[in-house]
Amino acid sequence: MTAMNTGGSTFSMPLGPVHVALEEPVYFHLTVEGETIRKVDLTSGHVHRGMEAMASQRNLTKNTTLTERVCSLCSNSHSFTYCMAVENVLGLDIPQRARYLRVLAEEIKRVASHLFNTAIQAHLIGFKSLFMHIMEVREIMQDVKETVYGNRMNLAQNCIGGVKCDVTPELLVYILSAIDKMKPMLEEIRDIYATNSMVLGRTKGLGLLPQEDALRLGVVGPVARGSGLKMDVRKASPYAAYPELEFDVILHSGCCIHSRTTVRLDEIFESFRLIIQCCKRLPGGPTIASMRQIRSAEACARTEAPRGEVFYYIRTNGTDIPARLKWRVPSYMNWEALGVMMKDCKVADAALITNSIDPCVSCTER
């Protein structure tokens, strides 16, 4: 790492593009005064894959597979929202059983995603045993994914008109038993995050994003909810089986790293509530509705991914290849907030603050 004198008492310091908080490239230019960050500028684009251009060369069915590969931890949310956009443009109504099965897959992914971010935070703090413990607990959810869907990351559960994989009653019992096993372990982890002096010392009151800045920058997901903004697509415009299920929107108003982590940890328990309800109330019937004729039309759809709102827009031209498919991932809205969060913080906290927005570079750049 080299620092460059920019005149006066401030220095310009490059950070990245590799190894800031994740194994994904993003390049920060920090203007520092001694140990303190005064200004943040970021450069991205290292992993731009031209996926939107690829989407307008593939048919609607193939795009389900493509969109699932936009992001790894939110993979299911992308195919989910994409399928919803296509269903909206075709005027397709999906079966009741498929609505529940979609929520089930989405919430299983949310638990695994939130646990991954929390584990990385422990790793960045230097709390290695906690990091390993959370990863071990997360492995139970990974096993659930592999057992039920056959894969640990890309579940390939969503398809246009419904879901691909039906879940048998035996598997529902297995999912419930996995949650029973995880719950006490997570309560313990939540307790560590609430009381451990090492965790609190590095996260509480640091990386502040005041509510008015959160509103101004239009941040989404746990970043918004950690600054006290009530924003959850599952409640604001309910979709799939969410209107019929009971869960609470988790809000914390600490505006700091710790506040965002607490939102994620509490949300895991809400996801458990949703998974249990899905398993117990799963209606019978078909899991897929057949596709209809493709008209020239436009439609959009949005859902709440682990990192926040995902937005899809599709325009069809009467063929099976979309004229335009555009999506916006939650991280895209959250990056600019880092400028506010890092200001007047220590250089040593830059990685922890970056991790607190649960960033995803690959999906930001597509």
Partner: protein, 177 residues
């Protein structure tokens, strides 16, 4: 459908005044969520329409720039997607095909910054009065339109058995001559 419109009658009425006549329509998804669609006659109306949404407390969700080449028209369009109280408002702006220009709305919605920079570098749309008109993903040293010169790997690899690559070569020769 009438219920959906009644809830937001005031803002819909004002946005309709900014739109071309007969272009406003309303849709719902199968879960009853509302989407309102407006088409602005000229990019000049954008600032006013976006201002109305700003006053109402809406949030910018996304912007979509696209070519209408797939629909056999040379024009470009931009669709601005806003959200207010769970309802999505879409404003579509048709751009001049020769010289696509649109005013910046970053002074109204801070999060339009990235979207507008992306439109500038990937869609060749000129955004006027942008407070920070730097490249977003591509390095500043790249020439404009550099990505158009690249041949996709799939076209290059299938060059021997399909006509795509050859047609590209012919097209470039026409351009150069």
């Amino acid at each position: 459908m009438q219920d959906v419109i009644r809830n937001n009658a005031h803002i819909i009425k004002n946005l309709t005044l900014c739109s071309e006549t007969g272009t406003v329509h309303h849709t719902t998804d199968s879960f009853g969520n509302a989407f309102h669609w407006f088409r602005l006659g000229t990019p000049r109306h954008l600032t006013r329409a976006a201002g109305l949404l700003r006053e109402a407390g809406a949030r910018l969700c996304m912007t979509t720039a696209y070519n209408r080449r797939h629909l056999s028209e040379p024009m470009q369009e931009i669709c601005y997607h806003f959200e207010l109280a769970g309802v999505v408002y879409n404003l579509t702006v048709t751009l001049n095909g020769e010289w696509p220009v649109v005013p910046s709305i970053t002074h109204l919605f801070a999060n339009a910054d990235w979207h507008e920079r992306e439109m500038m570098e990937l869609y060749g749309v000129n955004v006027t009065d942008h407070p920070n008109p730097r490249r977003l993903f591509l390095d500043e040293e790249f020439d404009e339109g550099i990505l158009n010169q690249a041949v996709p790997l799939s076209i290059m690899m299938n060059g021997a058995c399909t006509t795509d690559l050859w047609e590209r070569v012919l097209k470039n020769r026409e351009k150069l001559s």
